[in-house]
């Protein structure tokens, strides 16, 4: 169950990070002079999305370890 949960968490985070990446690339293409600001915001948001996925992965890992 832990592995399945981690997989679903990775799926959600993957969609989220993909959206962040696509939108920020579009923004940079539209406004190349704002590249620095957009990149910082992108990394920050990606870290927050990834954090949610990592919570799920840690819970999944604990599940796997608890079962031995």
């Amino acid at each position: 169950m832990g592995a399945i949960g981690a997989g679903i968490a990775a799926l959600g985070a993957g969609i989220g990070v993909g959206l962040i990446g696509s939108k920020s690339t579009e923004s940079i293409a539209r406004q190349p002079e704002a590249t620095g600001d957009i990149r910082t915001a992108m990394i920050l948001t990606a870290a927050l999305v990834e954090g949610a996925a990592l919570f799920a992965i840690v819970v999944g890992l604990l599940d796997v370890l608890a079962q031995g």
Binding site: D37, I43, L44, L54
Partner: protein, 467 residues
């Protein structure tokens, strides 16, 4: 600078192939001595139990219970740790988790290990001080302490001689899953004088996750993680004081040498992290803290990627370490919070009172969730990276059928080596990225705490939620 970065990349690329062979020796050694993972519950010697009934101690009850469940279940396959037993081959999960855990020695290969100082304290028994080499790779027990896969454990079963040096029957520590207080746990057993003795849990915070719990002793030893943290701290102090001296000496001149190598990092942290997140007027007060966090995490991450002696410790992939870093970030943020910050947390202005009753608990929870997410993010990223690399190295032993198939082993070395080299490069990126993310998020939390009210026009990600 680009040339030197390329050189470092090249060295790491070549180096990652050598990890394969280095770890190969280490694993084959582990396999030689049996990484036993028994599911069966072996019965304790009843005679031994009676013999030492007089030595009743606090842990006796749990031992008793374990004993009881042993006899209740799985009696069909009575099998003691002291019996000769067949080898079980390579177990990827045990080996991987063993390698990301902390240890009391730097294991190199075979019977070669760099010993580390041991300071163990047991209430009522006093201190045990020495080098981890005194355990003779698990052959010797000192004051009831034994080395279990590089980690100090204490014998829990009463009747074991708890004073001085004792020769064990073998350096084997047999791990079995037994039921302790209603929970199935992995417990180690050693052999002395033909009898089996149960081991206590190791004494660390990460031991809770990796099968530990309450224990009968305190381990203040300089472990792998502690050693690497001290090394990172000494490296940082030495580099930074010499660079600071350079800046004073060569004031107004272009940076040179090491100073020139690190200057882009300094200006990056100042211009891309501190100033945008904290603000131009207040960043100077927090710049040392942000820089310390960034470089300490970065150095620990990079040392963790080095597969042999001075590195090889999984420091930032240890939740106790990231916990302390997160607590520091929490303290600096909240001790510097101004009136506006606490007003926004406790009684958000400009919204109806009934919304405040919902929002205030959420904001107070948020105070703790922010450092909690810092802790989990760094820990999970680094630990996951180490697990992936160790699993890829493990392909060698899975393909090679634990040393029985040479051709499979060769395929495993090529495949696992290539993937490991690739993962190492990704981990190099992650090492920088996670240090950066830890620093920028800490800076953004501090920025939200010290922000002045009239700065509402320059909204950014950091404090958008506060308005």
């Amino acid at each position: 600078m680009k040339a030197s970065l390329r050189l470092i990349l090249a060295v790491l690329f070549v180096g990652s192939f050598s990890i394969g062979s280095a770890l190969a020796q280490e694993h084959s050694h582990d396999d030689d001595h049996g990484h036993e993972q028994h599911d069966d519950h072996s019965g304790h010697d009843d005679g031994q139990h009676d013999d030492h009934a007089g030595h009743n101690q606090a842990d006796h009850s749990s031992h008793d219970q374990a004993d009881h469940s042993d006899h209740g279940e799985a009696a069909h396959h009575a099998h003691s740790a002291c019996d000769p037993h067949e080898e079980h081959g390579y177990d990827p999960a045990t080996v991987t988790l063993g390698h990301i855990a902390d240890a009391n020695e730097f294991h190199l290969f075979g019977h070669f290990a760099v010993p580390l100082p041991v300071f163990a304290y047991a209430p009522g028994e006093g201190w045990t001080i020495g080098l981890s080499s005194m355990f003779d790779h698990g052959h010797t027990a000192i004051d009831g302490y034994v080395l279990n896969h590089g980690r100090i454990n204490r014998v829990a079963t009463p009747g074991f001689p708890m004073d001085g040096e004792v020769q064990l029957d073998s350096e084997h520590v047999t791990t079995k899953s037994i039921e302790v207080n209603g929970k199935v746990k992995d417990v180690g057993f050693i052999c002395y004088d033909g009898n089996e003795y149960q081991l206590d849990a190791p004494s660390t915070l990460d031991g809770g996750m990796l099968g530990g719990g309450l224990t009968s002793f305190y381990d203040f030893s300089i472990t792998k993680n502690v050693f690497t943290m001290l090394l990172a701290a000494i490296l940082l102090i030495w580099l930074w004081t010499s660079i600071a001296r350079k800046y004073k000496q060569r004031e107004g001149q272009a940076p040179r040498g090491v100073q020139g190598f690190f200057e882009p990092f300094f200006t990056f942290i100042r211009d891309e992290v501190s100033i945008p997140m904290i603000g131009e007027h207040k960043y100077e007060k927090f710049q040392p803290f942000i820089m310390t966090i960034f470089f300490f995490v970065l150095f620990c991450n990079l040392l963790g990627l080095v597969p042999f002696f001075p590195g090889s410790a999984n420091v930032t992939g240890n939740i106790a370490v990231t916990l302390v870093l997160a607590v520091l970030a929490f303290l600096v943020t909240n001790l510097n919070g101004n009136r506006h910050y606490w007003e926004h947390v406790l009684w958000m202005p400009g919204i109806p009172a009934w919304v405040k009753t919902i929002l205030t608990p959420v904001e107070i929870l948020g105070l703790f969730i922010k450092p909690f997410s810092l802790m989990i993010r760094l820990f999970a990223n680094i630990a996951a990276g180490h697990i992936i690399i160790l699993s890829l190295i493990g392909l060698i032993f899975i393909f090679g059928n634990s040393g029985e198939s040479f051709g499979g082993g060769v395929v495993g070395v090529i495949l696992g080596g290539a993937f490991t080299a690739f993962m190492n490069l990704i981990e190099l990126l992650v090492a920088f990225l996670q240090a950066f993310i830890f620093a920028i998020l800490t800076a953004s939390y501090i920025g939200a705490a010290v922000e002045e009210h009239h700065h509402e026009h320059d909204e950014d990600v950091a404090h958008a939620h506060a308005h």
